[in-house]
Symmetry: C2
Subunit: 354 residues, 2 copies
């Protein structure tokens, strides 16, 4: 049988309460007593019963990190960074930082939130773009409200603020403790401006999945740049955030406009697919067609040619979200901070061909 607190107490000849106190380290305990207790713990291979502890204390040490696609380094980097800030909490109660993969499915997102609510999670971090379906957005907002009520800290990372219908009194920022939102629109706009400056006038755009905030914002930035320059928008194709999608979409773009001189992709992975498609078509990058991505994932630098893209400080943002979730860092004014991207000009973009 597994040893319990009482067993340890008996062996150390103290009361269960004392054992609890040395384990949690929240109360003063005589050094000698502590010593004895720790020895007993060791001898019995005692491990705290998490559920019992959580039940009694009405809090748990679970922290959930929701990601859309765990196989995508975009999320892996953020999640890993957040986790490293949460796990390392020395001295205090060890938190169990845990990542949940929704696969982009709205149902699974809600399921995971419910499961975390069940566990009375200490905090929840939602990463990446959100679905724009109003019904689902409302369901998530409601869920987050209930989590917050129960004392769970909710942090958003790389996701726009939740629109919170102010139905109650003016409690402030709704259920979300802090939001780190990415400036997808601005980054995308600067990227397209870069292409325009290189003389490109016929630019195809490979957008992400429809109904997603990230997709829309990046597309809006692109269009804003075109509009400002008085350039007519080129063809747009939607797809998922993977390489295959970029490949197929590029062929479709070429079908729609043979004269394209540049392709802007929803992200780096898609951009790589685009490069592959162009090569297979016998088109040189950037000689015939320039290609640009977004995010600046590690592999983008190694592509041939290296990818022009917008660098998002994913690690830093994830780490900050982790600290915010742990209450280790002050919440930004208004609860919202915008994280900006940096244009990285590399070999995949060049002057437009005549």
């Amino acid at each position: 049988m597994t040893a319990t607190l009482a067993d340890v107490a008996a062996r150390a000849q103290v009361s269960p309460a004392t054992v609890s106190r040395v384990l949690n380290g929240n109360y003063p305990v005589a050094a000698a007593t502590r010593e004895r207790v720790l020895r007993a713990v060791d001898e019995l291979d005692y491990v705290l019963n998490g559920p019992a502890s959580s039940l009694a204390a009405a809090t748990s040490d679970l922290v959930g990190i929701l990601v859309n696609d765990i196989a995508d380094p975009f999320f892996g980097i953020m999640a890993g960074a957040a986790q490293s800030e949460i796990g390392g909490e020395r001295g205090a109660r060890e938190k169990l930082a845990v990542v949940c993969n929704t696969g982009g499915s709205p149902e699974r997102e809600l399921t995971y939130l419910t499961l975390l609510q069940r566990q009375r999670a200490a905090a929840v971090i939602l990463t990446g773009g959100a679905l724009e379906d109003p019904e689902h957005a409302a369901a998530v907002a409601a869920k987050l409200g209930r989590l917050a009520e129960a004392g769970t800290r909710v942090v958003l990372c790389g996701r726009p603020p939740v629109s919170w219908s102010v139905e109650g009194s003016g409690s402030g920022g709704g259920p979300v403790a802090a939001t780190l939102t990415f400036d997808n629109r601005g980054g995308s706009q600067r990227l397209t401006e870069h292409l325009l400056a290189l003389g490109h006038r016929r630019i195809g755009y490979i957008a992400g999945p429809e109904e997603r905030t990230t997709t829309r914002h990046r597309l809006e930035g692109h269009r804003a740049a075109l509009a400002t320059a008085g350039v007519a928008p080129g063809p747009v194709v939607h797809g998922s955030y993977d390489r295959r999608s970029g490949y197929d979409a590029t062929l479709e773009l070429l079908r729609r406009d043979q004269e394209l001189t540049a392709v802007v992709a929803a992200n780096d992975t898609v951009a790589l697919g685009a490069c592959a498609a162009l090569r297979d078509r016998g088109l040189a990058v950037p000689g015939d067609v320039s290609v640009a991505g977004f995010d600046d994932l590690p592999f983008s630098m190694d592509a041939v040619p290296a990818l022009t893209t917008v660098r998002l400080p994913l690690y830093e943002a994830g780490a900050r979200a982790g600290r915010l979730a742990m209450g280790k860092e002050p919440v930004p004014p208004g609860g919202i901070a915008t994280v900006h991207g940096e244009l990285m000009v590399r070999g995949s973009t060049g002057r437009a061909r005549a």
Copy 2:
């Protein structure tokens, strides 16, 4: 305040026990009663208290998936696959599949195992190579033993079987319910044979971190192929599993042997770094030097030239590990199944230059 089982019972005018029964669906309950209870649950926005439930039932619905590096798709793909098999359990008790990022640190690995033991996890999946340090291996084996004793199913995926000192009676396979091990040695051997067949005789090798099973097995396969062919081993450099490491190691290899005609890398990411280094040195791939990787991650196909590598069925293996952890699939004979890799010959390897 959050609603409790008792609140629901009061509203539905039944006993708490009955509510528990409809929620868990393990006992017969009259349809009309169930209906009333479910309505009450809905009206009160009731969510089961996980800790209380786990305490009473002495089991939890948490399943832990340990990975070495969550930002690496190698692990992301396996973890995502496992999670998808675990999450979708319809009808039964919803499991919370959760991934824990050890970052390759032995301490964090043990910490996470303890945390999962605390939570009385239903199952634990350990993915990827293990550290070969005997002390740490023993500590992990002991931990797994305690987990198994407490009823946690332990599954290994992409990791060699734990050597289990048979100290007790012949209980069989030790604490591990099932092991899916990758045939790193065989795959590596076939890869090197491929290079030998192309006429390469001076082959550099970029190994992974020292003291890791994956590193050793892949290196052994490589050496076995050389020995069989009677070819002298070339230079070997160790590094981490990232692109930078591949870049630096390649420069070092060239320093040690100017006449190298091929470089074998610990994995695809490292291979990409190697390609970059060669290019920067003015060497063509595969014209001057052939390059090969391992794993066949999605981006490897898109590299220029596309990477010759060994394809590991990561998704399938992860999914199978997930099913094994859930007891949805029969354990392989002896508790151990070997997953083989497939040699993928692509553009990055060619005939050795004269």
